[in-house]
Amino acid sequence: MAEYKFFQIDAFAERAMTGGPAAVMPVDGFPADSVMQAIAAENNLAETAFVVAKGKGVWDLRWFTPALEVPLCGHATLASAEAIFSHLKYDGPEIGFDTRSGRLTVKRLKDGRLEMDFPADMPRRIDAPPTLADALGAKPKEVWGGQYLLAVFGSAAEIRALKPDLFKIAALGGKRMDVCCAAPGDGEYDVVSRFFAPADGIPEDPATGSAHCTIAPYFSERLGKAELKCFQAYPGRGADITTRMDGERVKLIGRARTVIEGVFRV
């Protein structure tokens, strides 16, 4: 029977119980894929991250949803960095993660926030899929296509009020299955968004790093600001993600908060 350390960490969270929860499990070596998959299903969080120390500030990192291994996950990477800095007491300035998507780096900024470096995904204007407005229950002003559908609305209030029909979103078809809805922000925020991916088993995602790789280039150009304070308005939680354009790259900046610390036996 093996005993594992377990951390549940909210990423892109100013406070505990906001942002996106991820489980982070430091292991000496990766267990069998079937064991990691069973653990991720049991945790039932959007992602469970497994990290293996390689020395010199570098870790191997793999991500599992409850259903499958995924090639890239932003919020669980931020959460993994938090576990390594705060719980494993790594005191270097930067962590390198070797992943299926290559080397990802996370820096700890002076104010305690964490900064990840991801590729930008500039979307292109496209025609709205014919059933999109019906599925969202509201008509976006513009639709752009990047790695996801980006449905741009006129106001943050419209984003917060969305009550999409998830079965219809899942049935949209086309090559882009997931829908990011975004609008210029309200209050302190430049952009307010929500992210729906029912076809991938995620009715609504609370904190989506990768969606901000699309939000950042679009809104930075439109608003004429390299740095954007973004809020992902998942009902009852909400995630704080700051983006900064850097050429073809986007810096995703946020805090992470540990909610559960424990051990489990397999």
């Binding site: 069973a38 039932n44 909610v259 559960i260």
Partner: protein, 260 residues
């Protein structure tokens, strides 16, 4: 504030099977919005909050979105936490809940819960065969659920229901069941997409409906039942008048502290 948190698999003897529940013993219940936020964060089908009340406990259950009036697997898990961690050696406990007092006793490695029976009557909801993708030989229902009886356990295991259609039925959930499945007296599955649970892994409450039905059909009152979800779970059911005893095991998984 830090508080203890346990995650267990209920109604199984195998880890990664059964139905996971979180159990959080506390000195007093936090306000409801906090309990809802914690349950959403845990994202398990149920998080149970447990507060001492004399020699007994008060127990409340939250899904990631709502408080629910009754939950079998999280009660079983709560009993295991009381008897194996909080008061080792204790073999009986009463939980005071929104559904009245629920008694649980230890029986060897298993726990026996006493729940209200949920009798049903014959019904014919339109579209249930299409929604399930198979034609039932009988449909019964009560205020809580429909139950579609299939010809064989093989049919029950192979079902791939249309969740959108199930979600539109005028009951929150649909149980599908059939008699006989190897060493089991009956097999079932439970779909409740309207409650945010496409398929529940193992469902105590569904057996409160299945037990009285199969008692009439099979002419006996004690059953070994299997819930044939992907995870799978085992429940021994005993019909005792208007009550049902649900007996099962639990496996501890995660033990830790939560910041609440």
């Amino acid at each position: 504030m830090k508080t203890r948190l346990y995650q267990l698999d209920a109604f199984t003897t195998r880890r990664f099977a059964g139905n996971p529940a979180a159990v959080m013993p506390m000195e007093r219940f936090p306000d409801e919005s906090t309990m809802l936020a914690i349950a959403a964060e845990n994202n398990l089908s149920e998080t149970a909050f447990l507060v001492p009340d004399g020699a007994d406990y008060r127990l409340r259950w939250f899904t990631p979105t709502v408080e629910v009036p009754l939950c079998g697997h999280a009660t079983l898990a709560s009993a295991a936490v009381v008897m194996e961690r909080l008061e080792t050696g204790r073999s009986e406990v009463t939980f005071h809940t929104a559904s009245g007092p629920l008694k649980v006793r230890k029986a060897g490695e298993r726990y026996v819960m006493n729940f209200p029976a949920r009798p049903s009557q014959h019904m014919a909801p339109p579209g249930i065969g299409e929604a399930l993708g198979a034609t039932p030989i009988e449909v019964v229902g009560n205020q809580f659920n429909y139950m579609a009886v299939m010809e064989s356990a093989h049919v029950v295991r192979g079902l791939r229901p249309d969740m959108a259609a199930i979600a539109q039925m005028d009951r929150p959930g649909v149980i599908v069941t059939a008699a006989g499945d190897g060493r089991y007296d009956f097999t079932s599955r439970y779909f409740a997409p309207a409650k945010g649970i496409p398929e529940d892994p193992v469902t105590g409450a569904a057996h409160c409906m299945a037990a009285p039905y199969w008692a009439k059909q099979l002419g006996k009152t004690e059953f070994r039942a299997f819930q044939a979800s992907k995870r799978g779970g085992e429940i021994v059911c005993r019909l005792l008048g208007d009550r049902v005893e649900l007996e099962g095991s639990c496996v501890f998984y995660l033990e830790g502290e939560a910041e609440v």
